[in-house]
């Protein structure tokens, strides 16, 4: 049995006015897909910042496998309709393996491969500013994949998408996870997507946390603002 990619052990963290978690423990197996869910303000973003090493735990430990390579797809991007670069050029921004400005043949091939993986080959010349919401999200994903991560954090990647596009994006993410053994942490408010596309969920609440299989998810036990009835609005 392979060791987990990430282990969080008795983690305590809070800000001076507010304790977020005490005694948070869980681990993420290699190749697993986990939803991170919880009401707004419960500390999802803070947990990500802790996992990324941008914040230090007050007590407890976050241990990751020595070969962990993290890719993070942030929630908000400021891409206006006049944004000048094509999808391909935008994705390429994250290729920083050399100090010189031009890209090598090997880099171009790697870029081609990532674009193919994210099913953007036919659309790569399109201007990002004019691309659809789904294409934009795929481009953000592709950009993060350029550093060849084995652990991917998707921060509310589907929040602004319609149902079909959500499904398409999550199918792609699951496919990548299965094909390349990518471990995925998917921050979301969408219980349907969590149940459909991820194996387990980590629920953060004001009083504690639970990590369970999504098969065992019971909407009735979920925070009120996450329940489907609330989502329809």
């Amino acid at each position: 049995m392979a060791s987990p990619l990430l282990t969080v052990d008795h983690l305590t963290f809070g800000f001076h006015d507010r304790q977020l978690y005490s005694d948070l423990s869980f681990n993420l197996a290699r190749g697993s897909m986990t939803s991170l869910i919880g009401a707004n303000g419960v500390g999802k973003t803070t947990l990500i910042r802790l996992l990324m090493g941008q914040l230090t735990p007050q007590s407890g430990h976050i241990t990751h496998a020595p070969d962990m390579r993290l890719g993070y797809v942030p929630q908000f991007r400021n891409i206006d309709p006049e944004y000048p670069l094509s999808l391909r050029s935008f994705i390429q921004l994250n290729q920083r393996g050399h100090w010189f400005p031009w890209h090598t043949q090997a880099e171009k091939q790697q870029l081609d491969a990532v674009i193919r993986k994210t099913a953007l080959t036919a659309r790569q010349g399109q201007l990002l500013g004019k691309a659809s919401g789904g294409e934009k999200q795929k481009a953000y994903l592709a950009q993060a994949l350029l550093t060849e991560p084995n652990f991917l954090i998707l921060d509310e990647a589907t929040a602004s998408l319609d149902v079909n596009t959500k499904t398409e994006l999550m199918t792609l993410v699951r496919q990548l996870s299965q094909q390349f053994g990518l471990t995925v942490l998917f921050v979301t408010h969408d219980l349907e997507l969590a149940r459909e596309y991820t194996d387990q969920y980590l629920l953060l609440t004001a009083t504690g946390h639970e990590l369970r299989s999504t098969q065992l998810m019971e909407p009735a036990n979920m925070p009120a603002e996450l329940r489907p009835a609330e989502e329809v609005r």
């Binding site: 942030p74 000048p84 670069l85 921004l93 010189f100």
Partner: protein, 263 residues
């Protein structure tokens, strides 16, 4: 035309100026710093006037003031809510100081005209070499920092997510911008240097789809502008700056038209 030393100097200087401003300008536009470039040029005007007052070369005075103030002015312009008022205040102060230094130095008013509107006869061979050296400094450091600078300029959120040191890149770019404003002002003058830093990149933004395309278009628009400006100025005796401004505006509106058609 090229029999004259001053025309040779002017062509040489403007070629390097167009290369630098064309490339730096693409990042100025991407980072939304056009207004800041304008402020730095006014600060440069004050610096040049100060240089005249104390008896050093105007370019040295410009470099001194723009480099010293760039980081502070850059910080002032971070908060969008305060940006316009703060920058306007700084602009007014430095324009006032420039006028003060010119008055105190009691030089003829042609000096003011030269600093504000540029001059092609005023550039000596020694000035040219200084410009070339500064341009080379900008271009060489930019080629080393290129990938990080591009990422930070065209996708600040992504760059932050990948852990780029955005503060360092930001300060580096402000210094580069200060130098570019100072050298650009030598041909078109401090009042209009932002033409070269904003219009060719705007053309590139409308016509290009990749970063290399944008750089080539921006440099080409800048080069064609300054070269034609010099030639037309030589034959008509009208100010070169006028021609450069007019040509760049034509390019800009033409590119805007093409861009609109495409949509």
């Amino acid at each position: 035309m090229f029999a004259y030393d001053f025309m040779q100097n002017a062509f040489l200087a403007s070629t390097f100026i167009a290369l630098t401003t064309g490339i730096v300008g693409v990042f100025v536009t991407a980072r939304g710093m056009s207004f800041l470039a304008h402020t730095l040029s006014e600060i440069g005007f004050a610096g040049a006037a100060f240089a005249v007052f104390v008896g050093i070369r105007p370019l040295d005075g410009m470099l001194l003031t723009t480099i010293l103030s760039s980081v502070t002015v850059g910080k002032l312009s971070v908060r969008a809510s305060r940006r316009e008022a703060s920058i306007s205040a700084v602009s007014s102060l430095f324009t006032g100081l420039g006028i003060l230094f010119l008055a105190l130095s009691a030089k003829s008013s042609s000096y003011a005209t030269t600093i504000l509107f540029g001059s092609i006869i005023g550039i000596s061979r020694a000035d040219v070499w200084q410009l070339v050296a500064l341009a080379a400094l900008v271009l060489v450091t930019m080629s080393v920092a290129f990938r990080s600078l591009a990422f930070d300029s065209f996708d600040p959120v992504g760059a932050a997510a990948q852990g780029l040191r955005r503060n360092v890149i930001g300060i580096y770019f402000l210094l580069i911008l200060a130098v570019s404003v100072s050298i650009g002002a030598q041909i078109v003058g401090s009042l209009l240097v932002f033409i070269l830093l904003t219009l060719p990149p705007a053309v590139a933004k409308y016509l290009g789809r990749t970063l290399p395309q944008m750089l080539v278009i921006s440099v080409a628009a800048a080069l064609i502008g300054v070269w034609s400006g010099l030639v037309l100025g030589y034959y008509t005796n009208w100010p070169v700056t006028f021609f450069i401004a007019a040509i760049e505006c034509v390019f800009y509106f033409a590119a805007l038209l093409v861009h609109r058609r495409r949509d």
